[in-house]
């Protein structure tokens, strides 16, 4: 497969405040490198992630979206990540139906102690998304100007 060397994907990472955002901070503290294409948005819990946010990201040209939360059983709010997991399963199958490759979305559990896992996950995800190339843009037909 041909890989466009200059293609820089836009990757949005939603991180829960308690585990994954702290995990991302830890990756930074340990100077673990991952591509600058990843931009993190802090949310209080993975269950705060409204599927609409992901659709919006794909509408606006994101090439990949990843949700990181606490490990099952370790949610700061006890059960939030379970809700997130169920919601994302449904959303991902819908995205698949819409023609967005399954690999462009991902859910990972990253604890506050897993700086290395965070960096590895991001490296792997960006590599996957880069390999897939530019995403087709989700468009809301009602909003189309012509």
């Amino acid at each position: 497969m041909q890989v466009n060397e200059t293609f820089k994907p836009t990757v949005v990472a939603f991180c829960c405040n308690w585990c994954s955002y702290a995990g991302a901070d830890l990756a930074g503290t340990n100077r673990l490198q991952y591509p600058a294409d990843v931009k993190i948005i802090r949310i209080p819990c993975s269950c705060r992630l409204n599927p609409l946010f992901i659709l919006r990201a794909f509408q606006r040209g994101a090439d990949g979206v990843i949700l990181c939360g606490c490990h099952p059983g370790d949610c700061h709010y006890t059960t939030g990540n379970y809700y997130a997991r169920r919601r994302m399963t449904l959303l991902f199958s819908m995205l698949d139906y819409l023609g967005i490759e399954r690999e462009r979305t991902r859910v990972e559990w990253v604890s506050a102690a897993e700086g290395a896992k965070f960096a590895e996950t991001m490296n792997d995800f960006v590599e996957t998304v880069t390999r897939l190339g530019e995403n087709r843009r989700l468009e809301d037909l009602r909003c189309k100007s012509e």
Binding site: T10, V12, W18, C19, Y21, A22, A24, D25, A27, G28, T29, R31, L32, Q33, Y34, A36, K39, I40, I41, R42, I43, P44, C45, C47, R48, L49, N50, P51, L52, F53, R56, A57, R60, G61, A62, G73, D74, H76, Y77, T78, T79, G80, Y83, R87, S111, A112, A113, A119
Partner: protein, 663 residues
């Protein structure tokens, strides 16, 4: 339109080395609504904070964006600074350009580009921020300490001393914990019982302390300042208030074959027992697994001999529900099981013991009355081999623990020294990987064991122990001597790794407190908040947070008590204002949000609304209790009508961030 000020921090060279801070502040200056943008060496310094405050006053800023380190580090600092200058603290947003940018990207060009984007997202968010005011909640002025070892006792005593009532919940029939089983303490060699038991008595006599022994925490509800805890008081079949602790029943009980857990099974006790002479409360308990009366209904000896009528075979478990303002976890540790380490023949020979068992064998109140005898044949051992790091410092797998258990080097030196002191005719070998003795007078202690007491310290490990003809043939490496040693030993003592008590994990789940992969409680900050759990109102004391010796445990116990006292001395607590809010006009009363709320913060009320033609109609709408809501946002996604939103992380705010990043 907001008037936004942007402040880009260099963090010395931490940010400035890989991010062109000037370019960032220049780029952000061109964002809509930004009226001021600058960069400075240390935004968090007094001078930096002064600059922000000055600009708020001078330009009448309505929003502030600080591009700096993680909000987990200094969000509170900047919010406080802005509040002092008259800006609502929730009008501040942090763009994390250190941990999530400058520290992970080496290329300055892409680092700068990303920093600009993160700054833009923060600016976009601030545009939609609204001033928030924190609510308040009352504080129940009573603390719960879970675990009655030295950590729990010290924490409780310190809290009680400050005048607040404390309950200690202890799962065993007596408080005291592991320290009661220890013979002498390093590096001073004073007797553990002599320093611990007076503290146990103090706890029992302190009118602010209520000891709930033989009890376990069953459920925890609520939040900081307002916990409701269900405690199971297990049936001890003895009325604690009547029992005088005379011990007659424990002499007359015909069931003599019960392994004595206090002596780690090295001897036996009766089915009705007082764990040890100085137990607190000094009251007997019946072991239902062994009591003939409870199992078959035939016996009743203890009831007949008890002069105060304290025996009650009908006693049932009892559930208590109590309110607390703060909870301290002090669940302590256990030595790991030696099941997976049978290369040391622990299961094959009674003369291979763990260090805690060795404590009992050396203790005057132990099974041998303080004379060191081999458990197999009761003879005096001449050659003893101590093995350190059994199960500590192992990499992964279920076999051992990845961490250093911290206390083993010192207690092994203590055991070796005491053995040589009491029995000069013995040869004592200690096999070590490293001797770790950082602590006051610790290394001196270890050196004394070598130099004055002639303990043979050998750098190396034991690879196999073979029991043969009454001896333990120890095969070991002597790395400095370059040889494989074969020692015919009489006893082998294993310094087993320590692990958190098994009750810690379910407790952490109840408390929603976080744990590391080894089941130690995680502290809120590894350096700056070492005795607090990240969950507000939950504090950590002793070895449940990590391996610790007694002085460290007591120090941490006191520190945890100080934090609890600080909390309980407040009458009201400021709540997190970033909580869910329901738009009553949009709410259709479907209950979807109520079902996903883990805190029960959402209730429904029937509210009057103005209908058409001057009618009024009652509609069922959701209401969030801001003191109970913790702000997870589960309800906001569940809400089908879009009525529920989270303040500080609203749908619009997050969408604005998404838009700023993807374009």
């Amino acid at each position: 339109m907001q008037k936004i000020g942007v402040f880009v921090c260099w963090c010395g060279s931490n940010i400035a080395a890989t991010v062109d801070v000037q370019a960032v502040s220049d780029a952000l200056a061109r964002e809509p609504g930004v009226v001021f943008s600058t960069n400075y060496q240390y935004m968090c310094s007094q001078a930096g904070q002064d600059m922000i405050q000055e600009k708020i006053r001078e330009l009448g800023l309505t929003g502030v964006v600080v591009c700096s380190c993680s909000p987990r580090m200094h969000e509170a600092t900047f919010r406080k600074a802005c509040e002092k200058a008259g800006l609502n603290p929730y009008m501040v947003e942090i763009a994390n350009i250190r941990e999530q940018c400058s520290w992970i990207h080496k290329d300055k060009l892409s680092g700068t580009e990303k920093a600009v984007l993160l700054g833009k997202a923060a600016v976009a968010k601030v545009h939609l921020n609204t001033p928030l005011t924190a609510g308040e909640s009352p504080v129940t002025k009573r603390a719960l300490v879970i675990g009655g070892g030295i950590a729990g006792i010290q924490t409780a005593l310190d809290i009680a001393e400050a005048g607040f009532p404390v309950d200690i919940v202890e799962k065993k029939p007596t408080i005291g914990g592991k320290m009661t089983q220890i013979d002498k303490t390093f590096p001073t060699l004073d007797c553990a019982a002599c320093i611990l038991t007076p503290k146990m008595v103090d706890a029992a006599q302190n009118e602010n302390i209520n000891i709930l022994s033989y009890s376990e925490v069953e459920a925890v509800k609520g939040f900081v300042g307002n916990f409701t805890v269900t405690i199971r008081r297990k049936a001890r079949f003895v009325d604690e208030t009547k029992c005088t602790g005379c011990g007659l029943c424990t002499e007359k009980c015909p069931q003599k074959k019960v392994p004595n857990e206090f002596n780690l099974g090295l001897d036996t006790r009766r089915a009705i027992y007082i764990p040890f002479a100085q137990a607190v409360p000094k009251a007997a308990a019946i072991d239902p697994n062994y009591c003939t009366m409870l199992k078959t209904g035939k016996c009743g000896v203890c009831s007949k001999v008890c002069t105060v009528g304290a025996i009650d075979y009908q006693q049932k478990d009892e559930l208590l529900e109590r309110e607390y303002g703060a909870i301290v976890a002090a669940t302590g540790f256990e030595p790991i099981s030696m099941d997976k380490f049978d290369e040391f023949a622990y299961s094959q020979s009674p003369d291979v013991v763990t260090s805690l068992e060795f404590e009992r064998l050396m203790n005057a109140a132990g099974p041998t009355g303080g004379t060191l005898l081999r458990p197999s044949d009761g003879t005096h051992p001449h050659t003893l081999v101590f093995v350190q790091c059994v199960g500590s410092r192992c990499d992964g797998g279920e076999k051992g623990k990845p961490y250093c258990s911290k206390i083993c080097c010192m207690y092994t030196a203590k055991h070796a020294m005491l053995t040589r002191e009491k029995y000069p005719d013995t040869e004592v070998y200690v096999f070590y990987i490293d001797v770790r003795t950082p602590g006051k007078n610790f290394d001196e202690f270890y050196r004394r064991a070598v130099e004055e007491y002639g303990v043979h310290y050998v750098k190396g490990m034991v690879g196999k122990v073979v029991p043969e003809n009454g001896k333990l043939k120890v095969q070991a490496s002597d790395l400095l001597g370059g040889q494989q040693l074969h020692i015919d030993a009489d006893m082998v003592v294993l310094a087993a790794a320590v692990e958190p008590d098994k009750s810690a994990r379910p407790l952490a789940t109840m408390l929603t407190a976080s744990m590391d992969t080894n089941d130690f409680f995680t502290e809120a900050h590894p350096k700056l908040r070492p005795v607090e759990s990240p969950t507000a109102g939950v504090f950590l004391s002793g070895a449940c947070q990590g391996p610790k010796d007694i002085p460290e445990t007591v120090a941490q116990a006191g520190a945890a008590a100080a934090k609890v006292i600080g909390l309980l001395s407040k009458d009201r607590l400021t709540c997190n204002p970033c909580v869910a809010r329901s738009d009553e006009l949009m709410c259709n009363g479907c209950s979807a949000c109520e079902k996903v709320c883990p805190y029960g913060a959402i209730t429904y009320i029937d509210k009057e609304f103005r209908g058409p033609n001057r009618t009024t109609l009652l509609r069922r709408v959701a209401q969030v209790n801001p003191a109970v809501c913790q702000g997870c946002g589960a309800c906001t996604v569940a809400c089908p009508s879009g009525a529920m939103d989270l303040q500080g992380f609203s749908n619009a705010q997050i969408m604005a961030e998404v838009d700023a990043i993807c374009k």
